[in-house]
Amino acid sequence: MKAAVIVFPGSNCDRDLAVALRDAGFDVSMVWHKDTGLPNGVDLVGLPGGFSFGDYLRCGAIAARSPIVGAVAEHARRGGHVLGICNGFQILTETGLLPGALMRNRDLKYICRTVPLIVQNATSDFTARYRDRQPIDLPIAHHDGNYSADPATLDRLRGEGRVAFTYAVNPNGSQNDIAGVLSENGRVLGMMPHPERAADPSLGGTDGRALFRSLAGCLAHA
């Protein structure tokens, strides 16, 4: 079970993500953004949080055009799994691998706190170890997490069960309280909250652990 964590200039959750993935049983390699290919046999690609390229132009915009992202998109097209957290979610919307966009928070403030969420889809490869409608707490840390999409896209996401997580109390103005969305084939997940920051009791929470264990459970049988 192999995972690759992509490192951009300005990534700052890459090592946390690697620790959480290793804890769940993944063999993790770190891949620099200028590389053009992923290591052989990678099952899962992680796009970490941070401030890639200083958030210049738009959050995730420049990272989405970096050399490695072509290989990540190809991996996704072949049905590979991709997890984008925070800045990684912004990168996934900028590449078009996930619909919608992440705009400035409703109150224009950077928000860094643990927030209550609801698991809306507990059947995906990323969420199978949660219960349907399970309330969980995960940290958020973002200035641009206000999920926006046109009404038709929002209807489709809801109808197809592609909203993985919602905020129990909307912190940032996201439409339909959306905190995380899945791709059409369910193998690409983007989310603003940080499960990797809640995967060890010494860091104050373990509600994120089930996500990595869900993935490990699914990919171990693949």
């Binding site: 132009l57 919608g100 966009a101 705009m103 400035r104 224009l108 103005g173």
Partner: protein, 76 residues
């Protein structure tokens, strides 16, 4: 040659920054301000003869996120 690209949020997309600027103008007594939309201006220095279509490609691929933004190209 030079070109200027104006990037704006599409109509109907909420603009929290514009709303904050409008609020601040009101606080300063500029009651005639009824709406503010904030965008960005990108100036490009280009090889002479670069076509507008080519600049349009730059906008589509990078300069604007067409999910939420529209753009206008001005050749200078």
């Amino acid at each position: 040659m030079k070109a200027r690209v104006h990037v704006m949020l599409k109509d109907g997309v909420l603009d929290p920054q514009g709303a904050a600027v409008l609020h601040a103008l009101g606080a300063l007594g500029f009651d005639e301000a009824k709406g503010v939309r904030q965008g960005k201006v990108i100036e490009l220095e280009l090889e002479d003869g670069t076509s507008e279509a080519r600049i349009g490609e730059m906008c589509e691929k990078l300069l604007a996120n067409t999910v939420i933004e529209s753009y206008r190209i001005e050749i200078l």
